[in-house]
Every structure is written in structure tokens, then in C-alpha cells.
Subunit: 323 residues, 2 copies
């Protein structure tokens, strides 16, 4: 059992990362208004959030800029226009291995309002991730490595991957439960591997959870108790499929007085509920529970949602291959 | 950290209690059709659920039978009509201290289709609860004692209460997080007190969780890992306010092959989604999160919901008394 102090006190090293625009952007193809983004930025400042992820650095060769909002690409000009040259909060973008023209699209930190490049990779593309991490590091950024879909990887491979990443200049390594299939107990076991690597190579460890089994917040606070410092959350849990750890849950839990819940509630009332009314759909539902339980990619559940299906039992039979 | 076997194996002693009609009845004033109740009964049988709570034994002096569905009162005649004299699953009712005419309304087990009387009490009415437990025990029933709103009690008082209940003939003692304000770590500490009492007096321990902080399922599986055997859940999480631990989450987690998820999905698709369409409202929302974080009774949040308010920030200010 953990020490009492971990519930009532706090660790100075904890960092809260708002991933609303990035993971939430996967739900609405990144069509956020400037007004929305600016208000979110102000809310994050007042709430004491440490990092704000503004979107992806996606390749314009691979993705048509006319088919997505601007935060799919997060051009530095667009960032400057909204946040100015010297933001009051550290800004981050995500860059996917194989889906980012990082050599051109990630400019020198000296010329950018960004602070942190988050490199997202699968476990079979670690060398490519390290190349991107080194590139961003050399350009002057903080970096993180987010190994996605970790619940489909073998423990032996995870250890090797962590050892490779540990030797890179990366600052933070993330446990990413893309499928929302971890339980707090299995998360704790996985976090242990990451924390061992972090202790050996002097890296911080982060957690990015999905809410398929209504465990995104539970897994995040389990991780805090285990020694994980970097915590991703999104307002109202907005994110792909079942969504993420809710910012309002997280800031209601953290005890560091620099964090404030009220600005989060205010932003949700003013902006997030409107998104829901506009028909943007995310959050826990049975189809996501099923893919989470089965440790499957949520794409089938997302399609089920898009088609406005409600034949849950048929979907379950499709998933487990009864047909 | 817990043993790996606790995730992949199972304990024979675990019992799943379906509380849909009882806690869910608080949302729709117990107006469930016989068709609904019979289909739920069949779903529970197929799903391997161990106990089905059919409702309350509420006093007809205190509550007007014309203003509630019949499961508020759970007359033995009504139970017989729906379930027959020899149900294929053990049936339970809840009897509240001070709100139940137990001497008259709870008949001898030999004449009833019920198996289990669940006595609900606050910590300041333990002697009255014990009187009811003894009455039900002497009439031939299994009994549980559900100490509500436990997060507002002092640890010293909890210990005394548990010692008093431990000396009664009760079979199961429940941790009841009425306000949904426990975190898995605080639940684990509380469960430890109950489990100590259970070991001393040979009682089983149960958990009844609420979802105010999206932790009902997380707290329930934390409890399983800690040695708590009796687990309350409801279909689609239906229950007062933010609702309960979802049956579909729980049966997707438990590894005993006697439990089956599919009948649960089937019932939700056929019946629970219709309740939602009919305008019956329950489940996680910001107003419940706030009362959960603040360890307050959800009645203000329920009122907020009934009034269809969406001014979350005003509500928060009301709760913390800024006005």
C-alpha cells in the first residue's frame, strides 16, 4: 500500500499536459476555432497546467491541408498568430514516426514558440523515433517519446525498446495505453519497467490513458502513486474514441496548490458542452469498452460510432469473430 | 504490488450482486415494467450473476405506494408473481434503518422467494441496524449490513461500528461510497479496516461504489484485489446521480468462467438504451464530480440535473459557499 502522503501531499515534479487540441482534434479533424484555442490557452494558464499540446506536425505530403483544421499541421506561423512569440505556458506538438516531415516542418527552437516535441512511435519503429528525437533535441527542444499501443507489445521487447530510448537524449518516456485496455494493476507493472529505465538513464516517465474501460483517470492516478510524473489529460476527456483522462478529474485530485479546478469547469461550461451540442462525439460507450477489453485498436468502434449503430451485440460478435 | 494471479485467475468466493432495480430505481422512482424485470432476471441468470436485488422494503406509512413503482416496496406477492416461488438466482432487497416496517414487511424466509436482506444504515444508527439484522437472520435470511456515506465517518467510529456489527449474526459487511468520493488508494485503506473485522468475526466484505469521479469500476476492482468478495454493479451503471459500477465493466474484468459478458450487452442494447431514450438520466457529469470531490451528498447535484441546469461554475460556487 502506498504512503498516505502521496494522497494528501504532492510531488513538485508532477507535470500536467493538456492534450485537448491534439487528441481531441482526432475527433473533429482539428477544426477548432481560434476563439476556442485562445480561451483554452487562458484556461490552462489559470488552471496551472504545465504544457499545452496544440496539435500534430503532420506531413502535408500525406495529409491534405484542405481536409483538416490547422492544428493537424501546427505551422509555426499559426502558433505565433494565436499564442504570440513568448507563450505563458509551454507549448507542445506531437510528431508521428512516418507521418511527419520533421526535418523541414520542425524548425529551430530559437525561431519557434514551441517548447516540446512529442515523438509518437510504435514499438517496431524505435530507431526512426530516436532519429526524430535527436533532430528535435539538436534543434533545441525538450522531447518525449510516446510508445503507442504498448499493450500489444511483448515485455521483452518493451525492455529492449526502453533501453534504446534511454540512451537517446529524450527527456520523457510515455506509457501510452492507446487501446484503453490496461487495469491499474497492469499499468503499475508496466510503469515499473519504465521507471526502472527512467532511474537508470535519468528520464522522466509519463502516462497517456484512454477511457475505454472507464479507467483513464484511475490509471493516471495509479501512475502518479507509482512515481510517474508527466500526466496527460484533456478537458471533458475529449479524445479519440472513449477519450482520455479528464482534466477536471485530474485537477480535482492533484494537491499542488498551483493547480486550479475552477477555470477548467468554466471552460467546459463555455466551450466543451457546445462541442457536444454541435454533434462532436467522444467518450465511454459499450463499443469502446469491448475493444478495450479485447485489447484491440478502437478503429472498428469508431466506425460503429460514425455509422450511429446501436446493435452492440452484433458488433461484439464481429469483434470476437463469431460470424 | 499485488500478485499476478489476482488479475488472471479468480477467487471462488467472489459474488456479483446486480443492484440495477434498487439503485437504478432511485432514478425512475422504481417504475420498471414487468417485462423489463423479467428480462433482467433472465440476463442475470445467463450472465452468472450471483444475487439480484429487486428493490427496497420501504415503509408504506412513510412512502405513498401510489407515487412509486412496486419495487420501492417489493411486496412478497409481487416478487412471487414475477420470479415464482423458487427463483433460479438468489434475490435480495434493501431495508433502510428508520424507513422500513421490517417486523411486518419482512416475512419468514420459508414463505418468501427472497434470500438476502441488505440492511442500510448510517454510522449513527448501528444498534437499530443490528436489531434489523437479527430479525432477518432469525427469520431465516442471509443478511448484509451496508454502512452508507462512510467517507464522512471518523476512522475511530468506523472501527467501533465494525466491532459492533462483527458481533451480530450478519454475513456480509459493505463499504458503501455513497458520495463517490473515494480514490482507489483511500478505498484500500478503508477496506483494510473492514477486512480486519471480517477476519476476526468471519464475515465477508462487500463494496458498493458510485461513479462521481469515474472511479466506481476502478474502486471495485481495487477492492477485489484487496480481498473484498461481494461486488455490487448495475447494468449500464444505472443508479442514483453518477450511477454505480457498470456490470459490463465488471463482468469484462472478472475471470471466473461462470460469468458471461454477452447477456449483459444484450440486455443493455434491448432495454437500457431505451430507458435513456425515454429521458431517464443518470451517469457521470460535472455536477456529480464536484460533490464527489467535495465529499458531499449528491442531492444538490441531483437537483441541478432535474432542473436541467448547465451553469456548472455557478453550481460550484454554491457548493463551496462563495455566494
Amino acid at each position: 500500500m502506498k504512503e498516505i502522503s502521496k494522497l494528501l501531499g504532492y510531488r513538485e515534479d508532477v507535470r500536467v499536459v493538456d492534450a485537448t487540441l491534439r487528441d481531441g482534434g482526432l475527433v473533429n479533424d482539428f477544426y477548432f476555432s481560434d476563439d476556442f484555442v485562445k480561451a483554452l490557452y487562458q484556461a490552462n494558464i489559470k488552471a496551472g497546467v504545465d504544457y499545452m499540446e496544440v496539435g500534430y506536425k503532420a506531413s502535408k505530403e500525406m495529409f491534405d491541408p484542405t481536409k483538416f483544421g490547422k492544428w493537424k499541421f501546427s505551422n509555426d506561423d499559426d502558433i505565433l498568430e494565436v499564442f504570440g512569440p513568448d507563450p505563458m505556458i509551454k507549448l507542445a506538438v506531437m510528431a508521428d514516426v512516418g507521418r511527419c516531415d520533421f526535418k523541414n516542418d520542425i524548425i529551430n527552437k530559437a525561431d519557434s514558440a514551441l517548447s516540446l516535441i512529442r515523438v509518437a512511435t510504435y514499438i517496431n519503429t524505435i530507431p526512426a523515433a530516436i532519429e526524430m528525437i535527436e533532430d528535435a533535441h539538436n534543434k533545441g527542444y525538450e522531447t518525449s517519446c510516446n510508445i503507442m499501443a504498448i499493450t500489444t507489445a511483448q515485455e521483452g521487447d518493451v525492455k529492449v525498446a526502453l533501453d534504446m530510448i534511454g540512451q537517446s537524449p529524450v527527456d520523457v518516456i510515455y506509457v501510452v495505453d492507446s487501446f484503453g485496455s490496461l487495469y491499474p494493476e497492469s499499468l503499475a507493472r508496466l510503469a515499473d519497467l519504465y521507471l526502472e529505465c527512467g532511474a537508470k538513464y535519468n528520464k522522466k516517465i509519463g502516462i497517456h490513458a484512454h477511457n475505454n474501460q472507464q479507467l483513464a483517470f484511475a490509471n493516471t492516478i495509479e501512475a502518479v502513486g507509482d512515481g510517474v510524473d508527466w500526466l496527460d489529460a484533456t478537458y471533458f476527456g475529449m479524445g479519440r474514441g472513449a477519450g482520455n483522462c479528464s482534466m477536471e478529474n485530474l485537477l480535482g485530485f492533484l494537491r499542488n496548490p498551483k493547480y486550479n479546478l475552477f477555470p477548467v469547469l468554466n471552460f467546459i461550461e463555455s466551450y466543451m458542452t457546445q462541442l457536444k451540442k454541435d454533434g462532436v462525439v467522444w467518450g465511454y460507450d459499450l463499443q469502446y469498452l469491448m475493444t478495450g477489453i479485447l485489447n484491440q485498436h478502437p478503429r472498428t468502434a469508431i466506425q460503429f460510432t460514425k455509422e450511429k449503430r446501436s446493435d452492440y451485440t452484433e458488433f461484439y460478435k464481429e469483434l470476437i469473430g463469431l460470424d
